[in-house]
Symmetry: C2
């Protein structure tokens, strides 16, 4: 490699490995879009760069394209009109195979160096990516910047750190000397080579294209596999920029650009399945619906398949000091990006005979009302609220609010359409909060979007058992518990551990159940139906490469 | 735990982790059955203990048994007549679930401590296990002792070391403090719990019940999963002793004995599938036929499935200094346990226009003849030879020799029946060596047993390509290459790395291609159809447990 990207990024790698070991707070990528972090002109420059992309061919020089594709429309109303090169699935695979030859020979140090440099340059383009994420996913700008930029980069770096840690513990050479009593010892030399599995496919999601896409992309790339990035047809741009940066770094390092390729395609074609079922594709990272994820797990048997799918996230309220900060915290979680997060809470379990508070018992209806009031307050100021809720990514989610209303349940807080001061065409909705009974099986599916249920249970024990069983049957990425009783907290934890879901206890401040921090929080557990892997741990990287040894007499 | 088996075995654990990191030679279990290692009376005591088991109910106190089962017959002629308790599959699963409750709560330190103590006690019973392995598998005594005893224990310990290494890198508690500019930092405490996946199933093989069984057994047990050990109906005894030892240690440590259970069953029933398809079984380790292994991979989708199946092991002869030590080494590999090893070489590729040696060119026929002569010499002394070949484990393997003879190929060295001085009824066969052409597709399947082919190829390049393609299509656990040319050695290594098979170069001494050393050699790569995992690496253990975190405001 002409440029030693490993050496120039070594310090951040070492810090990342250390952070993942201690699981303390750490990030090399500032989450504040302050000019102090990114430069005085960063925001304006990026906006201009973003505007310059609209209505044009995206600047990506590729081979094998048969035309262009692209029909992205911003949930805030803007028609993007960006056209991406369209390369047939079999051509992408062929090009990846060709590119693999020199990439696989380069070895872990080169793979990891290239990955670290890509991440560093992605960070510099965080503002541009933020615009791209905002106008494809519907996230408010701040979330698009943080989750789509530095937090996604954190998750990518985390995967690279785990990959390096695993690969670097295999010695390149070993001397083996076995005593033979009075005879000379047996002496062998052994060489251990890290070999990639083959072509990796990343299937992107419409809501968090970079945050959910980077772990798989970087885990596979860092372990020597060429990667085909297949974005969701409604959220191509953030991953197109990512692929552009990756190819730029690959070229500088002397590798074929096709080590990372973009598989842009239109919404109604079969590209995902065609790629997934190609036997040369040996690793698949998928984020999306349970239907598609389960299909991949069942059918793509030639590949290692890592999926994050749907689930039913739950909150158990047993007892509180004061309901207000609890309700505020949960209202924020409901409203944040209009609940379009795989981690957003949906079912809030409250005993039908109420809960204990520092000021005496509080009835079920009072708890429900407190939550509704907190939502009202959270979205009262439309201009501020739209920054929190963003816009609804697609029509199906908007329709789901109507479906939920039609369930015939008591409406605790209705979903309203908000006027966005900057984007009058934006599809903005506030959370819908409904009252339900634990026996109502309709709440045991995912209602993706700004839809939540306050659910009457027989008791906290019933709440815990319902939560546990729902995680086991339907999956979940988060579980939240509120209790002032240590014994109850322990039972919640035991239920979470048995069901295999992470637990947040008594969140009342500025940490929200739907957010996880890279290097510290695992995202998902891989132990329930919502996801078969966690972001990131050793299991997420260790099977993306294999070790082939050669031995000979010394 | 009343007894701290972790502390008392900590040193061996630390040494094992260190050995796996350096991949230098190491073992805590002496492979020589010398009285100095195991005591003056060990051999006799064990023989008496073994004899005392014959024709009786095996001393294992279990619940849920509906009767006894057992029809083992030694390949050396002895009727074992040991009767094992038979417990229905669903009862085994139920009992494992009950036992899991306290086992899962005990945590990594207890799990690993119990595993280390079991291994220590298994080592003390190596002679008894050697008798059991000999008279179920047909291995000669020395191999039964080494491979069935200390080497199997090494592989078990290796899995425990990897498991501990992975689990212990997750901190139990973490403080997380995120700066908030001028405001107070956000402070969270996080607790990380290692949780087992569920019930683990180990499906044993008839030829190496302990060596192939221990890695999965100990990897699953050390990560908190209760284990059901299902031996092959013709090789129950070695694993029954293993389960007996495990239950003894579990009881002493205060855990339910049913954390490890034996699923003895008769040859013609459906116990394996019934257990494998029980949704509570979340991990399966399988060694056996490709047919059964592939079936499990396709159908047991609720479980992590680790398989070692059939393959076609190959030898490429390009050039040699001297053919004699090459032929001697290969003849030993053919004869060792009559080729009944998943690692035994089968196809030997030699260019049809011969090879280069230090003394000039050697024709194909001369190479073939040298191999045949070496086999003749290796098995010339029947009394010595039977210790090397052991006996044929089952009739199907004996019949396969006849099938191979009926292929109509030139016989280079015929398989002979040898008289065993100690066991007149023993089924002993010497290797059959046939001459074949590279175009003959009948050699591209596994001919399990003492059957090998010297295969005429167009050139060494052709040999390498044929070997590569055969590994990719049919799988292999070993590849062996002979060349005096560094450039050819490099091409062999590249082919091995691309196909995903370990390579042994120029073995001419006392190291044989069919043997791997724990802590240093990986057994299998997990990168070709012969096995989807390697023994042992991080990937073999990292997905047998999951991490569930709980977080709260500090």
């Amino acid at each position: 490699m002409s440029v030693d990207f490993f050496e120039s990024n070594r310090e951040v790698l070492e810090q990342a490995i250390n952070a993942a070991a201690t699981r303390a707070y750490w990030s090399p990528y500032p989450e504040s879009p302050s000019p102090r972090n990114y430069g005085e002109t960063a925001a304006d420059d990026a906006r201009q760069a973003f505007d310059a992309l609209l209505g044009k061919d995206f600047p990506l020089q590729v081979s094998g394209a048969t035309g262009t594709v692209g029909a992205e429309r911003s949930p805030f109303g803007l028609e993007l009109g960006v056209r991406y090169p369209q390369v047939p699935a079999d051509v992408l695979v062929k090009q990846a195979q060709d590119a693999m030859e020199s990439w696989r020979e380069a070895g872990p140090r080169a793979w990891v160096g290239v990955c670290l440099e890509i991440l560093k340059r992605l960070n510099k383009r965080s503002f541009e990516i933020a615009n791209a994420v905002q106008h494809t996913t519907g996230q408010g700008f701040m979330m698009a910047f943080q989750a789509g930029g530095p937090h996604a980069q954190d998750r990518g770096l985390e995967a690279v750190a785990y990959a390096w840690q695993e690969m670097s513990r295999i010695p390149e050479l070993a001397d083996w000397e076995k005593p033979q009593g009075k005879h000379d010892p047996l002496r062998m030399q052994k060489q251990f080579s890290i070999v990639p599995r083959g072509i990796a496919l990343v299937i992107g999601v419409s809501t968090f294209p970079t945050w959910n896409g980077y772990p798989g992309l970087f885990a596979s790339l860092a372990t020597g596999n060429p990667v085909i990035v297949k974005p969701h047809p409604t959220a191509i741009l953030p991953l197109a920029i990512t692929v552009q940066v990756a190819r730029e770094v690959l070229a500088e390092a002397g590798f074929p650009e096709d080590v990372v390729q973009l598989a842009a395609h239109s919404a109604d074609d079969d590209t995902a399945r065609e790629l997934a079922m190609n036997p040369a594709v040996r690793i698949i990272d998928f984020t999306g619906s349970s239907q598609n994820g389960n299909w991949l797990e069942q059918n793509a048997r030639h590949a290692q398949v890592y999926t994050e799918k749907a689930g039913v996230n739950q909150v158990i309220i047993d007892s509180v000091e004061d309901i207000k900060p609890v309700a505020r915290n949960l209202a924020f979680s409901f409203a944040l990006y209009s609940g379009q997060m795989c981690t957003a809470p949906q079912n809030v379990y409250v005993p039908r005979d109420g809960i204990k508070t520092a000021e005496g018992r509080m009835s079920f209806d009072e708890v429900a009302q407190a939550l509704a009031t907190a939502i009202d307050k959270t979205v009262a100021d439309a201009a501020k609220a739209v920054e929190l809720t963003g816009a609804i990514q697609n029509e199906a989610t908007a329709r789901r609010i109507d479906e939920a209303r039609a369930l015939g349940l008591t409406v605790l807080c209705d979903s309203r359409q908000l006027e966005h001061p900057a984007f009058p065409e934006a599809r903005v909705r506030t959370p819908l909060l409904l009252k339900a009974d634990a026996a109502d099986e309709r709440i045991l599916r995912e209602w993706f979007g700004p839809i939540a249920f306050v659910v009457a249970t027989d008791s906290t024990e019933h709440s815990i058992e319902l939560a546990r069983e729902t995680v086991v049957q339907h999956g979940a990425l988060t579980l939240s518990g509120y209790t002032t009783d240590d014994a109850v907290a322990k039972r919640m934890r035991q239920a979470a551990e048995r069901a295999g879901v992470s637990l947040s206890l008594n969140l009342t401040g500025a940490v929200f159940v739907n957010q996880t921090a890279a290097f510290s929080d695992f995202h998902g557990t891989g132990a329930n139906p919502a996801a078969n892997a966690a972001l990131s741990d050793t299991a997420f990287v260790a099977n993306r490469f294999r070790v082939v040894q050669t031995r000979w007499h010394a």
